[in-house]
Subunit: 393 residues, 2 copies
């Protein structure tokens, strides 16, 4: 991956259990156009509050992020450590505090080990000479079982540029306007208006369309930095290049979002839930999320049980307009139910076949209008319960 | 239990697996004042549609109920079997179709074994001479591990009367205006207006305040029948007796609702979630339900992990007004957090002690106003996953 003007570093600051890197830095050699979306949770972590304040400048040059401690529900002491971290990073890099974004992920309600964190920063800065984006992707993992990365290249005015992103997920995943943590960097030169529009649209159909357990975190953050160092002609609003850029960004974010679902805590299935024929797109999204968050539907997926009635029940309680005599349902291309009732024939056997696969699609048509939405989810397994019953031990 | 003028029966109609009664009847010797609340799910079972039509008369004399098949998502064929069942029961009892309520619980989307059901009805009617309410409570069980009953006696004008109720629950439990199935009978003579007001209030603070898995069923029904055969002076609106009756009814419904939660699928904990200090009662209810439905909170309860941060996160994403610096939280009488941050001291050890108990209270104070609500929930265990992964097999 060749992405110009970004440097990376990750070190072990002993915030998590020993032996794993837990503090990382992304640095752009020049100030980058930036925007970010943060959790809609009313309980917001200290780094979220501080980063939201900093991003209003529209510029970012560095991101410092730790795993192992969310710095959430930590009050004024949490704000102090977030500010001190930013100040030290800015000072060592010789940039302004306001251009430093800060992010945390991990356990909620425990004070950050301030001294260990601050002591690790000089080493973190030194590491910039040799680190990679892969190191950062690894350092932000908590219960994730694999690092999540995606990179795509595009062209503008005959000049190549790259969009790369990393993410972490696993639990407390039903982002609303942002995901747990995802950082996107590009060396493309892009008008801020184009960047923001493309970014917000891409977030909406990727991170805002996934759910693992229906819990929206206190720390969700998705940040993009565009430093322009590919030196392409600036991508301007309404141009074909802006359209290409948006498409490319979409693909990167969707890939990361799907990786988060596939690595959902205890996940054994990756399920694409498609809602069509709704009275509106908003109705479709609401019903799709009701299906994707239903414990009964998710345990049936885990059990490979073609229990389609639970899916109709979830649609029914989602609060949208429904005419039960018009409902139909497919597992992949197997029609399980039409006109609200079982399709008959060998549907049960064929539907069960589909559910044995690791990835499949559930399509529900409401037969009412042209509203549609797609969301991505995992199943609910024994492993999910084990992981979350013992998370802090 | 002495409840005048009601007869009961339960038989095996081979709707469920062999060896268990699955068809039951409650019969009042005289027409009873009746009201009912049904599921708010837009996908409604056939018996719900038919019973809702019948209850508009304000009178019921019989209830026929089966377990093992929900008769939901069964289209016109489902309506036909519900109507035929009612017609046959009415004919054999010599009463009007309109005074027969019908209810079903079990798997969704499978057609009812009509012949076996109708063939069992003559035997069901014969059984009225010897059956008990206990028999009915057992026959309506699905994944329930114990029958749910409650009875209380009151007095009006020096005459004793009894209110008795049964319920079934276990899974797909987050009733909204009704629970899975609950039937209340009383021999009290009560003005219909008193009956309805007391009933709706009691449902609101009992069945509408519990959740096992956040899934609202297609079949939820709560029915009350008051046949007046205690021959007490009629309980009239605004009287002290009306107040007593309402209190009594409340206690019966709350007891049944708590039994449902205690027998929630895989439940190892019974948790009372109290929300206080909210801007409104509605806000309090919404936040309490967000806590009670959070998979992360429920798995932490199962793991006996005093992970209070997840509870604040759930309050934060519930969509209500929150000031995180004012939040406080207790497990029973142990303060875990105040002013939004960890309470310190030995709170962790003492909080963990509380969570080791089978029953405990979680109290969250928002510090904003006087709105309050209480909901009841269970934990999320391995057993829940096992039961629901294999429900139909």
């Amino acid at each position: 991956m060749d992405i110009k003007g970004f440097q990376f570093s990750a070190v072990e600051a002993a915030i998590k259990k020993p032996g794993r890197k837990d503090l990382a830095l992304i640095f752009s050699e020049v100030p980058a156009a930036a925007c970010a979306v943060f959790t809609t949770n009313a309980v917001k972590a200290a780094p979220v509050l501080l980063s939201a304040e900093h991003i209003t400048s529209g510029t970012a040059q560095a991101l410092v992020v730790n795993s192992g401690n969310a710095n959430a529900c930590t009050g004024e002491q949490g704000m102090v450590v977030a500010r001190d971290t930013v100040r030290l990073v800015a000072e060592k890099l010789g940039i302004s505090d306001k251009t430093v974004q800060v992010s945390s992920t991990g356990v909620i309600g425990v004070q950050m080990p301030t001294e260990r964190l601050l002591d690790a920063i000089p080493g973190l800065i030194e590491g910039l000479s040799s680190g990679t984006l892969d190191d950062v992707a690894e350092a932000i993992m908590t219960t994730d079982t694999f690092p999540k990365m995606e990179a795509r290249s595009g062209q503008a005015g005959g000049i190549s540029y790259t969009v790369a992103g990393i993410a972490k997920g696993a639990g407390m995943i039903m982002p609303n306007m942002a995901t747990m943590l995802s950082f996107i960097i590009t060396d493309a030169s892009v008008e801020p208006a184009v960047l923001e529009k493309a970014f917000r649209r891409a977030v909406d159909t990727s991170f805002n369309a996934i759910t693992v357990d229906g819990d929206t975190s206190t720390n969700d953050t998705c940040l993009i930095m565009a430093n322009g160092m590919a030196e392409n002609p600036v991508i301007s609003n309404g141009s074909p290049e802006a359209h290409d850029f948006e498409q490319l960004l979409n693909n990167v974010l969707l890939s990361l979002a799907k990786q988060i679902v596939k690595d959902g805590e205890g996940a054994t299935k990756f399920v694409e839930v498609r809602l069509t024929g709704a009275a509106s797109d908003a109705d479709a999204k609401r019903a799709a999320m009701a299906i994707a968050n239903s414990s009964l539907v998710k345990t049936a997926f885990f059990g490979q049980d073609a229990n389609w009635g639970r899916i109709f029940a979830a649609v029914g309680y989602s609060g949208i307009e429904v005419d039960q005599s018009r409902l139909s349902l497919q597992f992949d291309d197997v029609c399980m139910a039409r006109n609200g009732v079982f399709a008959g024939g060998d549907a049960e056997a064929r539907g069960t076949e589909v559910l044995r696969k690791k990835e499949f699609t559930v399509t529900v048509d409401l037969g009412l209008g042209s509203g549609r939405a797609t969301v991505y989810t995992s199943d609910l397994s024994h492993e999910y319960v084990s992981i979350n019953a013992d998370y802090r031990t």
